[in-house]
Symmetry: C2
């Protein structure tokens, strides 16, 4: 196999919409010796990982664990477990990930009532209230906290009250916000949430942290039909993740991605060593520094309320946006993201997530853009 | 977070039903710097990984790639893409994984016609032929090459002819055989196959290699209904994995587990450096050595035709099987597997897969069992 040589990926500065750069500590944890998924020491490692996840998510939810897939597997887990054929669901759509929720929910046999806002904008509490009033039989309302396709930062608290007053479940996509933006699962009464590991947690992709409230658990327990996905069926997964036996007696469901669990555990330890508030503050400060620099270069932000970790700016007229990205990658080793959907060719997405979110990266990407845009 | 300390898993000798021990080269590849999933160099790494997979699977199938989940996600991928509500499927059941295929297929709305054999036995060509004759409208027949719950080694070629003469698709579970047992996807006319990375490939768990024949592709293209899983929908995944653009222009679907791809690529390089035939021969020789030693200890094999990589033996009467496993783990660092289903408490499963499959491990587990069973 001489034609396929030793792996030697060039080191990138990952300033796209994810993955972000992974700290050496997390990479080394990833490479620790593999143990069995039913080994008592692995059960302990997984229990510790779930305990750390609860702290980072600010929740006491018992059912808080990583799904064995990437972020989209997290979205699908919420959908297949909480929806049944014939259910109605309200989905807030202001970008790609809201659209995807609509698609995923429909594949579960649900009728979706969309609440739409222009791409880059957020969903207003008034619009959510109207949708809830118009569709009183909807089982849940789903919303994207951090719309990775536009950089829009969605406020969650006011809509939460509206949803709960109507007796619905509140589902949140926090793929790009967890670990980089304020997020409080319990205080904000989020019933079900999913995230990814490769954004503000700065762990490689491969796991999707999820958490379910007791209310969500009750809804799952009252299902009439079998969950359509065996792999993502929480009624079986909970026998592994909620077991009280403390090792040895866990019900085998599937072989978890063991080394990825090591890495997530280390990534969460790093988050908590920094402290959640300090971490969010760092993201805020670096975002402000980047924003000032980008605006100085004449670049306009797309969203009216931008995430700290994802900065979506319009491509100036007459600029070949792909050529700029290629030059950044080849000359500086910097990856920034292209626009998605209606923003394809129209926007760049500049990530400042987790370990990547440092002043030297902010200053370098500004320098690189300045030189490239001349 | 002082209460959750630095990761420090004890090194185990992994002689259970998987995972197997991971070579240092593969662990180091896992820890290489993360790059973006749309980075041209990652596209190349993924293309190389798929090329290596084709060689290890002995197939020219264009659509050969790793699913972003563990082995069971591979099973589910075949099911959701090849079955539609109302379809009929024949499933061969002689252990846990045949049972699971039945469950997974039914969740896709298919009617399953089981062909059963006692646990530990294999499915006869005559039984398969009867099922095919009895259910001429079945769309496919699914069978487990290596039944991880019993160690039974299922011959695949004769049944393949029967299935194709009836115009059905031939689906194979090769989770525990790929890389340790003879397996020829093209020569044996397998239409769809899935495996796992943590068995005879000796890569950590987290990916499920799959391959689809052109016939299977045609069946997927003729679907009437949307695939019920967005995450596993091959009609979208193929836009990423089959794209001819060679970098940059791939359609974004989901963020692949990038570092796991590094590890799989290295694991496959190691397999091909050894050579497929030499590797299978090593598994055969180590199996024979282990078998001779186990039989000398008075232990009886469960299956009439045993896999090389998974040795399932009956627990002698009066022996506390869990206590033996605990003693092996604690005194020797050796993990062996318990029985599953009707074999719970009745059998041990001793793995000899991939990197674990070495004389020193065979001799040590025999010594440890001899000392423990006294």
């Amino acid at each position: 196999m001489s034609e396929i040589s030793q792996l030697d990926p060039a080191e990138r500065i990952l300033m796209g919409p994810g993955p972000s750069n992974v700290p050496v500590r997390t990479l080394l944890a990833l490479a620790a010796p593999t143990v069995g998924h039913l080994d008592p020491q692995y059960i302990q490692i997984m229990d510790e990982t779930c305990a750390l996840l609860r702290k980072v998510m600010r929740t006491e939810n018992r059912l808080t664990f990583p799904i064995s897939g990437t972020g989209m597997a997290g979205m699908e887990t919420l959908a297949v477990n909480l929806l049944e054929p014939g259910d109605e669901a309200i989905v807030c759509i202001n970008g790609v990930f809201g659209q995807r929720m609509q698609d995923v929910f429909q594949r579960c046999g649900a009728t979706v009532h969309p609440v739409e806002a222009p791409w880059g904008e957020t969903i207003s509490a008034a619009a959510a209230a109207r949708a809830v009033a118009d569709h009183p039989h909807a089982k849940l309302l789903a919303i994207v906290h951090a719309e990775t396709s536009t950089g829009a930062h969605q406020p969650l608290e006011e809509i939460s009250s509206i949803v709960h007053q109507a007796g619905m479940l509140y589902l949140v996509d926090a793929v790009t916000s967890l670990g980089g933006q304020e997020l409080q699962v319990d205080a904000w009464q989020i019933d079900a949430i999913y995230s990814g590991t490769q954004k503000c947690l700065s762990c490689p992709p491969g796991l999707a942290p999820v958490s379910f409230s007791e209310r969500a658990l009750a809804v799952m327990e009252a299902r009439q039909s079998k969950v359509q996905s065996w792999y993502l069926d929480v009624s079986m997964l909970r026998n592994y993740y909620l077991s009280k036996t403390g090792g040895g007696g866990r019900a085998y469901h599937h072989t978890a991605p063991i080394n990825m669990t090591y890495a997530l555990r280390e990534a969460l330890r790093i988050v908590l060593e920094e402290g959640l508030e300090a971490r969010v503050d760092r993201h805020r400060r670096m975002h402000q520094r980047l924003r000032a620099g980008l605006e100085e270069l004449g670049l306009q932000y797309v969203p009216s309320s931008s995430l700290y970790g994802l900065n979506c700016v319009r491509v100036p007229k007459g600029v070949d946006e792909a050529a700029v990205r290629t030059q950044l990658l080849e000359q500086y080793g910097i990856e920034i993201g292209a626009g998605l959907g209606p923003f394809a060719g129209q926007a760049w997405r500049i990530g400042l997530m987790g370990h990547t979110c440092r002043q030297r990266n902010v200053d370098l990407v500004l320098t690189a853009l300045r030189d490239t845009l001349v």
